[in-house]
Symmetry: C3
Subunit: 330 residues, 3 copies
Amino acid sequence: CTGCCSETCFLTYETNKSVVVKSWSVGIINRLVQLLIISYFVGYVFLYERAYQVADTAIESSVITKVKGFGKINSKIMDVADYIHPPQGEGVFSIITNIITTDNQVQGTCPEVRTHLEHFKPGFSSFLSISVFSLKGRITGVCNTPVGYCEIEGWCPAEDDKKNTTTMAEFVNFTIFIKNSIRFPLFNVSRGNIQGDNFKCRYDKLTDSFCPIFRVGYILNELQQDVEKLGGEIGIKVEWICNLDEALDSCVPRYSFTKLNSPFEKNKVSKGYNFRFAKYYKALDGTDFRTLHKAFAVRFEVMVTGTARKFSLIPTVINVMAALTSIGMV
Amino acid sequence: CTGCCSETCFLTYETNKSVVVKSWSVGIINRLVQLLIISYFVGYVFLYERAYQVADTAIESSVITKVKGFGKINSKIMDVADYIHPPQGEGVFSIITNIITTDNQVQGTCPEVRTHLEHFKPGFSSFLSISVFSLKGRITGVCNTPVGYCEIEGWCPAEDDKKNTTTMAEFVNFTIFIKNSIRFPLFNVSRGNIQGDNFKCRYDKLTDSFCPIFRVGYILNELQQDVEKLGGEIGIKVEWICNLDEALDSCVPRYSFTKLNSPFEKNKVSKGYNFRFAKYYKALDGTDFRTLHKAFAVRFEVMVTGTARKFSLIPTVINVMAALTSIGMV
Amino acid sequence: CTGCCSETCFLTYETNKSVVVKSWSVGIINRLVQLLIISYFVGYVFLYERAYQVADTAIESSVITKVKGFGKINSKIMDVADYIHPPQGEGVFSIITNIITTDNQVQGTCPEVRTHLEHFKPGFSSFLSISVFSLKGRITGVCNTPVGYCEIEGWCPAEDDKKNTTTMAEFVNFTIFIKNSIRFPLFNVSRGNIQGDNFKCRYDKLTDSFCPIFRVGYILNELQQDVEKLGGEIGIKVEWICNLDEALDSCVPRYSFTKLNSPFEKNKVSKGYNFRFAKYYKALDGTDFRTLHKAFAVRFEVMVTGTARKFSLIPTVINVMAALTSIGMV
């Protein structure tokens, strides 16, 4: 039977000769090895890794947020249009908790707020003190050394950001509403995080874990975070782990919170998060003037992750075959 | 031949004794099983899963958008600087289609617009009615019960967001230009979605499917979405599926559209998407006043996904070996 | 031994009969094949693919940026509040390098800046010239053909964006500070990109590759990019490749830069990136007027990717078993 072109030869079946060893010790080892292999397939491959399902983690996610609440900074009532940046309700947004304003700045020359000596100290909080190094042209060069001030050219009067201020106390009572819709493109399944139309609920991990409205104070409490020592970045994680072989109603999000700036807690820079913006005005004679705001804020980031799994025939067959082959049953 | 140190023993080859079973029935089953295995490898592993290629889905993507068009809201002509938030041409942006403005607000006290009774109805659209629950301090406590109004402290006069307004009709004629560049870092291949310099085209899935300029009305039509009942969130998907074994010119994007808020269509909250922002002014005496805008908008999200595949020797060899081994040819 | 219920039969061990072929040529081929298989497992599976570790690429990342520096545009000093959009220090931000301002625009009718004939040229840079096609209603229809202007209704006077302007020269001296924290959820490991509190450093790939402060000029130089021919989009990549079996201190980021608009370098559209925004004012009589800004900008995108690997028992055992089985040792 050398050539395989004859019909006889094509329809033969070649298999291995086998020997049966009758030995208690070898037999026990053989069965133990088979047990180990079966355990691996059942416990790890099927139950833990769920090899009978295919997974989709490439979710399409869309987040809209809406913050509510009133606070008072420098004796002015702040509403959402005042303290949210950006205003459009994005998944990443900053709530201003404190502001140092510098009113009526106009283009001109004026003395720097800091002394000349201070320029040479390492300093991060003041962009003015940095400017002497990087942009010498903006320092006019006139320095009144007895008093210790140098003249700058720019928006005047210069900002003095060392004023003492207090954090907006009402911040903890603000609420953040999160509207999140996701889609698993592999399975063409869409889900939203809102059930029903009850918008008076407040999220609580024990009593109301599906409510999409979060009190800021609750989040800070969960993170064991003192509002006065706020690092400035808080993540709100929305995690969808869905088994699409079960009822679709069980595909719900799980919320958790995380301090995004935790790696920086030992750095001085972690003390807070701030940014500057200005409101621009025009005087009657057409001169531009502005109010510079140094805003201390807390930044929230809604982070959505998702995994959906669904039974799939081919990986199931392949893995069952692999299991059976490896214990010698096929 | 017990020790393996002798040269003779090292160069021996141990193989299994095999038996050739000459049986038509067993032979046919044997060949059928081999056919099944070959089909699996050829059909699923090679053709469907493309195991001879490596895939890169970790794309670097950058999106810049530019909206054009003019509309009229409350008899004022709105241009792009008026209706786009944020203005920088990001991949996620909102086009304002309607605005309720509250002019000349100053810090002070004034009657709330809603009646006292209304506060106790569940209400999402008004942040004022929520405030009575969460921020009682801002309600001064003075309530003129016969008339039914309570006094608030804050930006006055209070907003009345129940005015009837109509959606900017010209919105459907706006165009969205999308400039998307992607890079597959594994293969160091960069691609952009613009061919040539024809910027007078309009995207049409049949006649001009590579044009990067999208008419809003076309998108709404594709989604079978009435502009008056807009849910507020539209995804523009840019999908790159590239076979880098073919000519690079065939690595082009495919566009599609999706209603991101579709999971919320049964919720009342899905009726629209709105946000508030303010424009700040200064009176001659230095008093701050503002115009509060409640903007009804449609949010567009450009979502880029990509997969590039390219031939790779090692996975091909491994899979061919696996196929041959499993049918007993190696 | 047909039934397997008897204890004797359960504890037998069935194995294949083997033949030892004593042939130098066959023996050499056998050992070479084994060597090849071992090389594949050691070299590719273990060393290259690191199959003894599990990998986590689903990082949680948070980026805060802070730009410093002063520049001069149209003889006005610009600080960070003037030239950054958005102001909150996000991972994607635009630095304005040039502005064409159109002052004192009010709602009304006025002649278009361009001639009537120009409307029919393909033009992307001017939204006015596009409007004649897409929004004919906004063109009032009054055309003073001898002079060549048509009347428009909208914010007047109309913008003339063909003015010659120069890029803010000080831009190259600006510095970008990046604060990036990441977390590998699979291993619950968090890392930040800041070591110590030295904020006077400047990033240099040779001398200070861990410094998180980047001079814009350095980035442009690395990209061999002339500031005057800037395409407008620059990616700052932060890459974390962490072997968690080593000391945690070796889990540090690597920075690199990329021209995100490189696929468009042959298109006319790549010439620059610009967007429009307006500052709104109120006249004494309550009329709204605005200053329209056409801002030419460079957009920076901080792109964070990460992979962490850690030893894991099960994949190691599986792969060692696979290696031994394939050379016939198990």
